[in-house]
Symmetry: C2
Subunit: 226 residues, 2 copies
Amino acid sequence: MAADSGRAVILLSGGLDSATALAWARERGYQCYALSVAYGQRHDAELAAAARVARALGAAEHRVMHVDLGSLGGSALTDTAIAVPENGGAGIPVTYVPARNTVLLSLSLAWAEVLGAMAIVIGVNAVDYSGYPDCRPEFIAAFGQLARLATKAAVEGQSLNVLAPLLSMSKDEIVREGLRLGVDYALTVSCYQADGEGRACGRCDACRLRRQGFEAAGMADPTRYA
Amino acid sequence: MAADSGRAVILLSGGLDSATALAWARERGYQCYALSVAYGQRHDAELAAAARVARALGAAEHRVMHVDLGSLGGSALTDTAIAVPENGGAGIPVTYVPARNTVLLSLSLAWAEVLGAMAIVIGVNAVDYSGYPDCRPEFIAAFGQLARLATKAAVEGQSLNVLAPLLSMSKDEIVREGLRLGVDYALTVSCYQADGEGRACGRCDACRLRRQGFEAAGMADPTRYA
């Protein structure tokens, strides 16, 4: 695969998708700066997973930034008064966190600017999360356009690309790509309500999609279930 | 002036521009939700000023969110190792905070989404801050485009406008407009290195622009200088 050069900021939640995105960026030749954001998510076992994944995949640095997005409420992921759904359903799920990906991308833009990075990598995919407005290809494109105008580097003529390599992949394609890239998925946590040890509930939407991904890929599921 | 309806989130730093933007939004008929962000700025006397301004201008709510943007470094406003310049100069000033307005607008988008607000108001202007990439009209337009794609409301067909009423105004025009709208500028703090009591240094770029604004408007300067 063609090697890109320079630094990249990779948004790393500690879940399956972002771990795969990090492995992808490493294979592309980027020096990888992994950014996790503590935004008040109830599943902060993910943050411990992010640290393990960043280490295992050779990130140059792993940083955790804090923003109290959870204080705004409005999502089952940050508000313990809203139950995490366990049976799918139509429409935008209550696990949607208002403007989360906009905030996460903004923070990675800030770090990218300080680092002089050439790329921001986000592991969103539009296939399995079609209910989330900020996982759509047009949203990613609009943020890319914003990034090209927002920074000092932009004014000085440098380009900064926003890359979403998993955007059009299904979960089983992501799993296969990650395994090819050497991702140890046992290190990752996708569950919306993992316990303190990072063990998955096996019932929430994130768990169901993840399990189906391994099944459809014909691969053993290394997830630690509670 | 025609009255708009509904809620608006107003980014309120506690400085002269954002106070004027809040007064403008109130006159437009919006129910105003003022958002201040503690991002590690060294001049956090501004946050106390923001609380005073929000109260004086009848904001429905004033909220302070926290994000550790300062930990990334790269700006004289967040890094005490970098001196605040006191003599102007060419190019993008060291007081520029990487991706700050992108982060601030993202956080207001999150709150706007939870509130069901119709508008986000930001008091940037391109005239006196032409050195900052994220104060340019094309940046504001790009964020508006992003906001129209990023949210649950957007998917459901509601519009959310990003308004920058001061964008093409000079500092003295802003001062005149604010005074017409009843802003008490003695409550505001613009200085990049105000002391703990909110008294201005009188020498930094923000102080110089502000003082020139009052002079050019032919108005008494109510700023408290140290």
